[in-house]
Amino acid sequence: MSLLRSETLAIGTDADVVHVRQKVRAWATDQGFGLVDQTKIVTAASELARNTLIHGGGGSMHLQALNDGSRRGLRLVFEDHGPGIPDLKLAMTDGYTTGTGLGLGLSGAKRLSNEFEIDSKPGEGTRVAITRWR
């Protein structure tokens, strides 16, 4: 598998979340994703970027454009140094929310992606990685 290109975006404000959506849309288009696939990964990115901002106190998204033989993909890694998630299993259930949300952020992003990894340590921060293949 080869890495075609990568970039990191800071997520510190509302406007950054919009910027994330636009960036992911552009990269998904470049990778040749169909319209529905594009929409899915942009929506997942929006959920995770917002989480990073609101629950993580700000952080970053690292974008990677991948090529695995015949298929192309996008990998997004969201990282923050916030309070972390004490109960991951609970956080991943539909409808669970600590804020005023609908609580679909993490589980929703997982459903919209082909691969999903999450790492979180209370007091240290959270790292979520999603990959979507064409």
Binding site: D14, A15, V17, V18, R21, Q22, R25, L35, V36, Q38, T39, K40, V42, T43, S46, E47, R50, D94, T100, G101, L102, L104, G105, S107, G108, R111, L112
Partner: protein, 134 residues
């Protein structure tokens, strides 16, 4: 900060979301709409999302809030113009937008609002109340 314009069309309010909104803008739209419903005594709200290529759980929540608050203020809300890719993604995300009526376009949405209004007036008549004149 820019604001999303709200047009008054007879008894209804029409909002056409043309930009990728950042979260604060979405919140201010929610406030502006509820404000205007009261001030203009509108009985229906039409939200045109045909220009949106992404609807995530935050926007979904905003639409739900608008629908609930309008109902309390005696106005029905109809969301129109949802794109297929967005609809498919929302289904995958698990977001069903409960309590929100939808229509394919503004024309259909208006029909829906008028019909809803007619039933309301008829119900008032059956109970012996005189429908309020506008």
């Amino acid at each position: 900060m820019e604001r999303i314009p709200i047009l008054k069309m007879g008894d209804f309010l029409l909002v056409s979301i043309q930009v990728d909104m950042h979260d604060r803008l979405a919140m201010s739209l929610q406030d502006d709409l509820t404000d205007k419903i009261v001030r203009s005594r509108a009985h229906g709200v039409l939200i045109d999302i045909s220009a949106l290529d992404v609807v995530d759980s935050f926007i979904g929540r905003m639409l739900g809030n608008i629908a609930s608050m309008s109902r309390i203020l005696d106005a029905e809300t109809v969301v129109v113009g949802m794109r297929p890719a967005v609809a498919i993604t929302l289904v995958e995300l698990g977001l069903s937008l409960p309590g929100i009526r939808t229509a394919l376009n503004v024309e259909r949405g208006m029909e829906l609002l008028r019909r809803a209004r007619t039933w309301d007036d008829l119900e008032g008549g059956e109970n012996g109340d005189v429908p309020a004149s506008e």
